[in-house]
Amino acid sequence: MPGFTLPKNARVPGTKIASLAAAVFAVPLILTGCTDNTKAPDTAGGAIDVVSSNSECKVSATSVPSGNLTFSVKNEGTEVTEFYLLAADGLRILGEVENIGPGLSRNLVVTAPAGTYTTACKPGMEGDGIRAALEVTPSGNQRPADADFQHLLDTATTQYASYVKDQGEQLLTGTEQFAAAFAAGDAATARGLYAATRQHWERIEPVAESFGDLDPQLDAREADLEPGQEWTGWHRAEKDLFPPAGYTALTAAERSAIADRMVADTKDLVERTRTLEISADMLGNGAKELLDEVATGKVTGEEEIWSHTDLWDFQANVDGARIAFENLKPALRQKDAALAASLDEKFAALQAELATHAQGAACTSYDKLTPEQVQRLASLVDALGEPLSRLTAAVVL
């Protein structure tokens, strides 16, 4: 498993590749003449105030200029409320804010081209809500029609779902091989498989972590345990394969139990990812979380304290983040082409630095890095992490 090349598993099924290619070709045409407007100013009059009570939905304007609309929604009722901006058909949702408790305020920011819309407050979160018409007048801050945009998002989530499935299957295959070697006491083989197999986990870590029970069973570090908690999973095996001084090795029976549990838990994980519903914000947030993982765990060498294979995890986290970004990129280019370009550049810069730590198919051991090298990596992670954190809002708003 090459650690520092583009992951082969970035491949997506042929039909999906075709639809991606079509989307990429379509984008420049749609964007022509529009890129200067990607930072449309806020509504001239500032936020549109919405006051939701148990029986009323007061919207401070009935007509606003097109562009970025900010609705400042205050719940003055006694029920939990929601606010929606709907298309003229009263069905398609352009934006919503949910779960506004009594007395609380929340903003909805949505980009709306000229047209007729429907606003709706939904006190009690039931029924059709209290509706009114909202006219959005042409202001020059026009956006391309977004029918294609939804298609781009759908393509992105389909592609990412394939990626998660593919990584999960490779993780299972690798885990079975690793577990067999580990249980059999073939430490050399197990050590050789350890980092490369974990990369499949690390690439889809936010998805894996969303299963709150499986994550600690498979990936808990010793420091994460509470007194008396049973320790299983990858890092339990790591300590046995890369033992610190004074460590007492596991018995064959203990190794078998750990190995069997890892395989069973991984099967469970793969099974659950098959039915996981993936939305566009999960891609954006997942990419951000992967970079967070790098920034707080991998770049500091805290993840793999015995094997020092942190850079393998680092590379895999970056792979996973980049795949999510690449999947969203056609949609992002429509909304914020400058952000897409900036992310391209910063992913490339980080990858170039990581490439200097490749040793054939392997990654340099973390304990061989100089403090200066760690600092360079960390600063590239931050340089990428900051704009990456804007990805979700850019495509989902």
Binding site: G101, L104, K288, A295, T296, S379, S389
Partner: protein, 458 residues
Amino acid sequence: MTGCPFSGRAPEASEPATGPASAQAPLDPENGERPTAGARLSRRGLFGIAGLGGAAAGLAAGFLGHDAVAASAAPPAADSPVVPFHGDHQAGITAPAQDRLHMAAFDVTTTKREELIQLLKDWTRAAEALAEGRPAGATGAVDGPYGAPPEDTGEALDLNAGKLTLTFGFGAGLFEKDGVPRFGLDGRRPEALIDLPHFPGDDLDPARSGGDLVVQACADDPQVAVHAIRNLARIGFGKVRVRWSQLGFGRTSSTTRAQQTPRNLFGFKDGTNNLKVEDDQLLDQHVWATAGRPEDAWLAGGSYLVARRIRMHIETWDRTSLGEQEGLIGRTKGTGAPLSGGEEFTEPDFTRQGKGGKPLIPLDSHMRMAHPSQNSGVRMLRRGYNYTDGSDGVGHLDAGLFFIAFVTDPRSHYVPMQMAMAKGDTLAVEYLKHTGSGLFAVPGGVKPGGFIGDGLFA
């Protein structure tokens, strides 16, 4: 009032002395300042003095530690910069949380009981003076012999007392080291002064943890707090050495209802639900230690101080959406209202449901996990401070919360809650890392003429 940053009147020259119990001039009730002797330069400049006798006695009184009589004769006004040192409880627990912190933990290096006792006496005398805005030692920073180093280090000259409180605590290491009792304190270690367990995710630095003695210096002026710790450390040379010290630049808790709730480095109001000094009965129940065994009588009016240095991953936090931030905390960022609705001090409604039947205050939110209703009703008096300590070496600020809590018993009032939060509070798991830790038994207040923890050595 040249040299005095606070407005207030200078004491009248004709003001009568308070009597034979203390010939020292009383505190000015408005500014808490004390006129000082003759040519002696006080921390806040030169003042007139009632007479030569008063001057001489004043020096003696300061040295002998009879100041409290004067203090009780003229209790400081509410806006006075002086917080009384003496009392049933040590100062610095229920006193309105000051803006700045300097806390230091010490290893005791002497093995002699009498040297330890003398140190505690010396610290008491110094603390009495510092709390009143006077310099350490009889001759202060500039009134000693020209050929000798000054007794006080001097950086607090011209500053008032700044509401300085000094709170002292005893770590387990004072009672025993490696299983061997120290200082004749065999069997005296309180049962509640446990060794804290490992909490999930702990990454404790031994150089930032533990300590045989601790001093919490809180003041509204950081220079005053640092001056206090520095002078106590200096007095201790040869008997103690500084193990770790921590500056806190901004309070993160309120201890009175008059104070506005401050914000932590996540930008959220912190300690909305903190115990307040007005909660008399709750303080008895949750803060003041109970002397369970006869040999623990010195703990009456005392407490236990839990200190945790909590690094916050502020860089990744700042990349998190407002919606996620509020969900992790369980309150709104603007007003601090619980997500179930209302205003900051509205009681949270943990059962109130939003979209899809999910609770408005998420199950893994910090506020829910920390709430008394989730923790067998236990409360803490929190007195933490925001800190930044330079960089972490990889381009981030080493910043976070220096958590301080006073509790009646850490076994019931800290360990179970922290164990649950270290596992289940997503905020703690993703964005916090505990890097330092200390637990100290805080003796009851010091009586005039007594010294810190004197009951333990009686």
